[in-house]
Structure formats: C-alpha cells, structure tokens
C-alpha cells in the first residue's frame, strides 16, 4: 500500500490512536499531513497504518471537504465549534443620577431596619446612660475643678493663694 494523497489510514500512536483519517499532503518520505477523525496535523509515517481505500481529494483540502468525503463512507469526523469571542463587560462609572437612585434605595433599606435597632438601643441607652451620666457627671466635676483651679492658679500667681483656695472649698463642702 503506497502512501499517497487521499489514502485512508488509522493512527496507531498518541491520543488519536485508533482513529481514522485521510492523508492530505505528503511532506517528504517521513512525514504526511492527516485530517479526519484525528486533529489536522503533521504525522510520522511510522505512526499510521494505511488502509485499502483511497478517496479523491485535493492536496491540502479544507476540513469541510474532508468531512464531506468521509461522511459518504460513513465515518463521522470531529467537529470543533469556533470559539465565540465574548467581551467582558467593562465596569463603567455611574452617572450622578444613578448614584442618587442608589442612595435613595440605601436610605429605604436603612428605614426598614432602623426602628428595631432604635428600640434595642433605647433600652440599652437608658440603662447605660444613667450609669454613664452619673459617672460622667462625677468625672466632669473632677475634670472641671482642676481646670478651674489651674486657671485660678494662673490668674493668681503667688503660691500662697493656691493653698488657701482649695482649703476654703473643702471647708465649704464639709459645712454643707
């Protein structure tokens, strides 16, 4: 069996082994080009087993022609779907109107969830505020007194007066 264009053969090596194909081109005494059930590719002659049949096919025939010729013999060829180019949607900047709408939606959502949170917070706040207030008030007093004292100190520079004033305050507090 000679190796010629249009000769049916079976590939016996690689992942396409056992698949039928047609010789489309003979490159030299070692390599041929196959197409059919296999991928369209250059193949070593030792990796194919020629069959008896020969098809009339042009040199470097397109895959469609090969597929049609093989269909008549009842051999279905591979069919690869051409890849469709799908562009990714590019992120666009939102227009001011869209932003407004987005904000309004967010507000609506906030309104839905607000009341519950308020109720919970109010209960907590009352407890916390009373304690905090009591604590804060004391703290404030403590804070205020020294500050006032400092101011007074600054105003009254002599050291003797400093000592007198806190003593006087304490005395007032004890009396009350």
């Amino acid at each position: 069996m000679t190796i010629e264009i249009g000769r049916l053969c079976i590939k016996i090596a690689g992942r396409d082994a056992g698949k039928k194909a047609v010789i489309i081109d003979v490159l030299d005494d070692k390599f041929v080009v196959l197409d059919g059930q296999t991928r369209r590719r250059k193949v070593n002659v030792f990796h194919i087993e020629p069959l008896n049949q020969v098809i009339k096919i042009e040199k470097n025939a397109s895959h469609g022609d090969v597929a049609n010729a093989l269909k008549e013999l009842g051999i279905e060829t591979r069919q690869t779907k051409p890849k469709q180019k799908t562009e990714r949607p590019k992120p666009k900047r939102k227009t001011p109107e869209q932003l407004r709408v987005q904000k309004e939606e967010k507000r609506k959502l906030r309104d839905i969830f607000r009341p519950k949170k308020k109720e919970e917070k109010i209960g907590e706040k009352k407890e916390s505020t009373l304690e905090a207030k009591a604590g804060l008030m004391e703290e404030k007093k403590e804070e205020i007194n020294p500050s006032e004292a400092e101011i007074k100190e600054k105003k009254a520079k002599p050291a003797e007066k400093k000592e007198e004033k806190p003593k006087a305050k304490k005395a007032v507090g004890e009396k009350e």
């Binding site: 079976i10 016996i12 090596a13 992942r15 082994a17 056992g18």
Partner: protein, 88 residues
C-alpha cells in the same frame, strides 16, 4: 520498644527530621509495585508508583498516559493490538 503492631514488617520505617531539629521514626505503608503492561509485562511509563489514596489526589491526566489502553498496555502492545484489529 515499638508498639506490637509496628513490630511486624508490613509497615516500613521512615526517618523524618521534625521541626524540633530531632530525627523521629515514622511508620508508613509500603509502596505498591509499579504498574505493568497487560500483555508483555514490561513496566509502564507515565503511571506513577503511588498508593491508591495518593493516586486519588492526582489529576486524571497524571495517573496514566492519555491514549487508548493508557495505563493498561504499553505503547508497543497497544499499536500491535490496533494493527491486528485492522488486519482481521
């Protein structure tokens, strides 16, 4: 003295250097025999010599060659098989 179940030689000993910078003795399952061709009995290429659970973690394309009878017959026997089928 190792535990009685480790004194049989069904498990192999592996010396591992552990993070505390000391060498510890670990017991591991023995490796399986290499995969062999179904017709000629030669060792198969492209089929790793690993335990079943290790094979499971591998991708399928790394467990055996991607051709008809991959991981069962060697390439030479596979070719012979196909040629014989054609000529019958």
């Amino acid at each position: 003295m190792p535990a009685p179940r480790l004194r049989s030689r069904s498990l192999r000993k592996v010396f591992r250097k552990v993070p505390g910078n000391r060498v510890s003795l670990q017991y591991k399952r023995r490796k399986h025999k290499a995969a062999r061709c179904g017709s000629c009995g030669n060792v198969l290429h492209g089929a790793p010599r690993a335990l079943p659970f290790q094979m499971k973690s591998l991708p399928k394309t790394k467990r055996r060659p991607e051709r008809p009878y991959g991981g069962v017959l060697c390439s030479r026997c596979m070719r012979q098989e196909i040629v014989n089928k054609i000529r019958q």
